[in-house]
Amino acid sequence: MLGDKRSGPSGPGTTIGANVKLAGTLQDASDIVIHGRIEGEVISSQGINISESAYVKGPVSGELVTIAGKVRGSITATGKMEILPSGKVFGSITSKDLSIKSGAIFVGKCTMPTEEKEEIEEKEEEPTEKTKTTYEVE
C-alpha cells in the first residue's frame, strides 16, 4: 500500500472498514475493498470493491471495479466495471466492459475503448455515402 510497488498479486490487499474515514491517495498493487469513507484517489492494479456502506469522493482506477456504494468522481477500469443495484456513481466512467444493474444510479459520461469508437464513426459515414448515391440517381 502507498508506494508498495511489488509486481503481481501481493498479499491479501487492503480492506478499509466501515468505521474508517480516510483522506489522501489509497494505492495498492493488490485488491482494495472499501466499506468506509474516502476523500481522495483510489488506485489498484487489480480489483477495487466499493461496498454498499462505502463512500468515495475522488477518482477511482483499477482493473476490475465493482461499485455497490456511492462514488463521486471519475472511474477508470482497465478490465471490467460493474455498478450493482445499490451503486450510485456521479462522474465519468472509462471502461471497455461495463455492466449497470437495474436500480443503480449513474449520472455522468461513459467512454468506451477506441476500437468501439472507430466502428461508430464508420457507421456514421455510411448513410452519407448512400444519400449521395441516391442524389446522383435522381
Binding site: G17, A18, N19, V20
Partner: protein, 244 residues
C-alpha cells in the same frame, strides 16, 4: 538464555544437555544485574559468533533481535530460537513442538529470512504487537500523505507490517452474536480494516499502551516501519519460504 531461577534453571540445564548430545557447542550466558540481554548479545556479536541462540520468551527474543538488527556488524549473524512456550506464535514460526524438536532444528540449521517490524526509535519485533483498549477510542493513523481516523479497540501489528484494526463493539451485542451463531447466519465483517504499508504512525487522543506478549514496549503516538527480510533465523522443515 533468560535469568536462571528455579524451574528455568533446570530447564536451561536440560537445554544445555540436549544441545551437548546433539554436538552443538558454544558459550552460554545469562543476564544478570551486571549484564543485560542487550549487552550480552552485543558482546556475542563483538566476539564474532556467527549464530546467537535466544532461549526464552518473546520479550527476550525480541531484545536479542533488536541488537542483531541494529548492529551494523551483525549483518550476517544468524538467530536460533528456543522458545519458552511451545504453543506460542514464536514456536509456530520456527516449527518447534517441544524442547527436543527446537534443539534438533538448531542442529539441522535450515536458514530462512523474515520481516521485522521496527517500533521507533529502536525496538524490533518478530511476533506481533497489540494495542487494546477496553472501550473504543478514536485512533488516527497516517501513511505518508494518507490520513485516516478509525474508532477501534484492537490493533494488531504483525511482521511485514500487516495491520489489523478491529472494532469489536460494532459486531453487535453478545446476545445478537449468539443468535447469529445459533441460526448459522453469517454476516460479512465490514468493520475490520487491514493495511500493509511500509510505515505507519498511530496516534490516539489518550496515550495507548503497545504490548508484545503482554509486555509493555511503548505508547502511542508511535511509528511502525517494515524491515523486509531483515533477519536470518533457523527454522524447522517446511518453514522455509521461497525467495519470491
Amino acid at each position: 538464555m533468560g535469568p536462571p531461577r528455579g524451574k528455568i534453571a533446570s530447564r536451561q540445564e536440560k537445554t544445555k544437555d540436549i544441545l551437548g548430545d546433539l554436538g552443538i557447542a558454544g558459550e552460554t550466558v545469562s543476564p544478570s544485574a551486571a549484564r543485560t540481554i542487550e549487552e550480552l548479545t552485543h558482546l556475542g556479536i563483538i566476539k564474532g559468533y556467527s549464530t546467537i541462540v535466544a532461549v526464552g520468551d518473546e520479550a527476550l527474543v525480541n531484545k536479542v533481535i533488536t541488537v542483531i538488527a541494529t548492529e551494523k556488524t551483525a549483518k550476517d549473524v544468524v538467530l536460533g530460537i528456543i522458545p519458552e512456550n511451545f504453543q506460542s506464535a514464536l514456536a509456530r514460526k520456527i516449527g518447534a513442538n517441544d524442547l527436543n524438536s527446537a534443539c534438533s532444528i538448531l542442529k539441522q540449521r535450515r536458514l530462512s529470512t523474515t520481516n521485522l517490524v521496527l517500533l521507533d526509535p529502536n525496538k524490533y519485533f518478530i511476533t506481533e504487537a497489540i494495542i487494546r483498549t477496553s472501550r473504543n477510542q478514536e485512533i488516527y493513523f497516517s501513511i505518508g500523505d494518507l490520513k485516516g481516523k478509525v474508532s477501534a479497540n484492537l490493533i494488531t501489528i504483525k511482521p511485514g507490517l500487516e495491520i489489523f484494526i478491529h472494532d469489536q463493539t460494532l459486531e453487535g451485542s453478545k446476545p445478537s452474536q449468539f443468535f447469529r451463531w445459533l441460526f448459522g447466519k453469517k454476516e460479512t465483517d465490514v468493520y475490520s480494516t487491514y493495511l500493509h504499508p511500509k510505515k505507519i504512525r498511530l496516534e490516539a487522543e489518550k496515550s495507548l499502551n503497545i504490548k508484545i506478549a503482554e509486555e509493555l514496549v511503548g505508547k502511542t503516538p508511535a511509528v511502525f516501519s517494515n524491515r523486509s527480510r531483515a533477519l536470518k533465523f533457523i527454522v524447522g522443515r517446511g518453514k522455509i519460504k521461497s525467495k519470491d
